[in-house]
């Protein structure tokens, strides 16, 4: 999704990691972790993509993804998936790779121990903790710590922050009306903050939020945290 629709997120991620002196590789054989197939009920297809994932990244030291929901899929659901399709080889490979798959802000703060990476971004920003980052990966305030350290950034608290934006992958299409009703509350809360930018660590949720903001003609922008961290304006 970031590769195809939001290349700027991937670019920002590379820039941030390289600024901190990491050696970044992008194995071009990678495609998708299979989350959409898994969550829509297509477990065999999801298992195929899981097999591809563990093969493509098998030799990497650490796999950093700028998406909490993709990391949560690998961490929480790959073991389940391997068991469901009764693939013990996959189960072993999953066990080996899971500790090495981390979300970007988790990598920066928890593994790298940095919060200030020298970014400068002048705007009033509110942060939406996505469900997978909050309840799945339990990132806590790692993303917030990074944002607070950004020079020029005015961080405003989002009311009802821990509530879902209503995206949920194919849920947003299968149950479009309910999804939109949930989004309404999220947007109401975002608008109430007076922020110019809403940031998150999942571009998928930001597509939902941004799609709703765009439809109502709002000027509030949606940005992945990586994009803000890469900024040095």
């Amino acid at each position: 999704m970031n590769d195809t629709l939001f290349p700027e997120v991937g670019i920002a991620t590379v820039q941030v990691l390289e600024r901190l002196g990491h050696d970044v590789e992008f194995p071009e054989a990678q495609t998708c972790c299979g989350q959409v197939h898994l969550n829509t009920g297509y477990q065999d297809a999801a298992a195929d993509l899981a097999r591809r994932f563990v093969r493509v990244f098998a030799d990497e030291e650490i796999v950093v993804a700028p998406s909490a929901s993709c990391v949560a899929t690998v961490r929480e659901f790959y073991p389940y998936l391997a068991e469901q399709v009764d693939d013990s080889a996959l189960a072993r490979e999953v066990e080996a790779i899971v500790p090495r798959v981390v979300e970007l802000t988790e990598f920066l703060v928890r593994h790298g121990g940095v919060t200030d990476i020298g970014a400068r971004f002048t705007a009033r920003v509110t942060y939406h903790p996505t469900c997978h980052s909050l309840r799945g990966l339990r990132l806590g305030d790692a993303p917030l710590a990074l944002l607070r350290a950004v020079d020029g950034l005015d961080l405003v608290e989002l009311p009802g922050a821990d509530e879902c934006c209503g995206f949920g992958g194919t849920f947003a299409v299968k149950n479009a009306e309910t999804s939109s009703a949930i989004l309404d509350s999220k947007i109401e809360n975002i608008v109430a903050t007076g922020a110019e930018v809403v940031a998150a660590v999942d571009r998928s949720c930001l597509t939902q939020i941004g799609g709703g903001l765009s439809r109502m003609g709002s000027t509030i922008r949606t940005l992945h945290v990586a994009e803000i961290l890469a900024a040095a304006q």
Binding site: F26, N39, L49, Y80, H132
Partner: protein, 462 residues
């Protein structure tokens, strides 16, 4: 596949009064729960204990059930076994007929709703009277409950006043809560004094002693379990706990999770028959009705640990918007979305596991640590496999997507194709309208167009 959740939600979402009632009620209970669970330093340990006890019971359910049966008999009660709803209703109807009663009073019970017992009794000429205030409101309105714990959560007090004026014949009733409760009280007291048979469910059944436990707020349940001569209790086989000591854990977990109270006002516990005191005839109907099938599924079986607290409903963003009726099931909300399809099958309830954004709030509050998101995903797999979800279009799209994502070369080509296909839909770099299955997205949200350069294009050009 019968008409599913999205169609029912369509109706519910348009009811603005319903949405206001729900938002207010769920937000209030949510806050109360957070306060009383947060004040317990050992809340996580209590959850872990509850989860462990329930899982142990399920592992040895056969043994506990036989032990429970023997203990009930020992205490002077009779135990009946019902494979399904039909058998359970036949047993209950026969027992009521034997007493000659034409009216029975009922303790609030989801299990009796699950088997459609009121209808079965009505067909046999017996009128079942709900005595829980909210259940009574639903019964008088001819509606089904919409919440596990607060069955009339979809109604506000003005709506209830109008209902009571009409159904109880009190034309000058106001919408003062105390006055509404008073009207129900007068009506119900007469029913309690007349009744010779009561029917209840059970929150817990203790294998060691044969005791049954009902937890409630109003005390009306206690009238039912003490005044009539005959008491019939329907118990889902998953409601067993091994010993009385185990209740210590659940009687702390349940009120804090459900009503947000430290302790519920009435906890009734009875064991068999006490000569000269309370019901002199006591029957237990042990109900399977699909539960052993749930038990057979290694991932799905954790669902049977549920103690029906409804904390998952109150934190669910979907439930808060649609209410309980949209689920078309006695068990609504996240727990209903995983329990109902397992009890009745995916052909009947295949859309329910999809009625969730998988936000995870439900799993986080569950007092017995049911991993609801995991079971939802698990059941989505089953529904799709059993062709109870996903039309021809979705299956084709998913197959094409899987094949495309299976090769880097095809993935690159698909992106180029996407750039071509999107052309007629793109204005100012965004898509405002899409056809077919994707129109649901664009009915309320824009979508960014696929940009000229992908990340991997950038990566290669470095």
């Amino acid at each position: 596949m019968k008409s599913g959740f999205p169609q029912a939600a369509h109706v519910a979402l348009r009811d603005t009064q319903l949405r206001r009632n729900l938002a207010l009620a769920t937000t209030t209970i949510r806050g109360r729960r957070a306060t009383v669970t947060g004040e317990r330093p050992d809340w996580e340990e209590l959850r872990a204990a509850g989860a462990a006890i329930k899982r142990r019971v399920l592992r040895h359910l056969d043994r506990h059930l036989l032990q429970f049966e023997a203990a009930v008999q020992q205490a002077g009660g009779t135990v009946h076994w019902a494979r399904d709803a039909r058998e359970a209703n036949e047993i209950v109807v026969a027992l009521v007929r034997r007493t000659g009663a034409l009216e029975v009073v009922k303790v609030k019970s989801l299990t009796t709703d699950e088997i459609g017992m009121n209808d079965a009794l009505a067909a046999a000429g017996v009128r079942a009277i709900e005595t829980d205030l909210a259940e009574l409101i639903c019964q008088l309105a001819g509606e089904k409950p919409s919440h596990i714990l607060v069955p009339a959560i979809h109604k506000n007090r003005v709506e209830i006043r109008d209902l009571f004026r009409r159904e109880l014949g009190i034309p000058d009733l106001t919408d003062e809560p105390a006055e509404l409760a008073g009207a129900a009280r007068v009506y119900l007291r007469e029913r309690f004094l007349d009744a010779s048979v009561a029917i209840s469910g059970a929150n817990f059944a203790v294998a060691e002693t044969g005791s049954v436990c009902v937890v409630e707020s109003e005390g009306n349940g206690r009238f039912c379990t003490t005044l009539p001569n005959t008491l019939i209790t329907i118990v889902g086989i998953e409601k067993l706990v091994p010993t009385l000591d185990d209740l210590e854990v659940f009687l702390q977990l349940l009120p804090r999770s459900s009503t947000g109270e430290r302790m519920n006002p009435y906890t009734s516990l009875w064991t068999g028959v006490a000569p000269g005191d309370g019901p002199q005839e006591f029957h237990v109907v042990l109900l399977d009705n699909g539960r052993t099938n749930v038990l057979a599924d290694e991932v799905g079986r954790q669902t049977l640990a549920c103690i029906r607290c409804s904390a998952c409903l109150n934190v669910c963003p979907v439930y808060e918007r649609t209410g309980g009726h949209a689920y078309g099931s006695v068990y609504p909300g996240p727990i209903g979305a995983i329990l109902t399809p397992q009890l009745v099958g995916t052909a009947e309830a295949g859309s329910l596991p999809f009625a969730s954004s998988l936000c995870g709030a439900c799993g986080e509050v569950c007092p017995v640590k049911i991993d609801i998101p995991q079971v939802l995903v698990h059941l989505r797999g089953r529904a799709t496999r059993e062709r109870a979800s996903g039309g021809v279009g979705e299956r084709a799209a998913m197959a094409v997507a899987a094949r495309t994502l299976g090769s880097e070369r095809r993935f690159r080509w698909a992106r180029r194709l996407g750039r071509l296909v999107q052309r007629p839909f793109v204005t100012d770099g965004k898509i405002e309208r899409l056809p077919g299955g994707l129109s649901g997205w664009t009915s309320t949200r824009d979508l960014p167009a696929v940009p000229a350069r992908s990340f991997r294009d950038w990566w290669r050009s470095r």
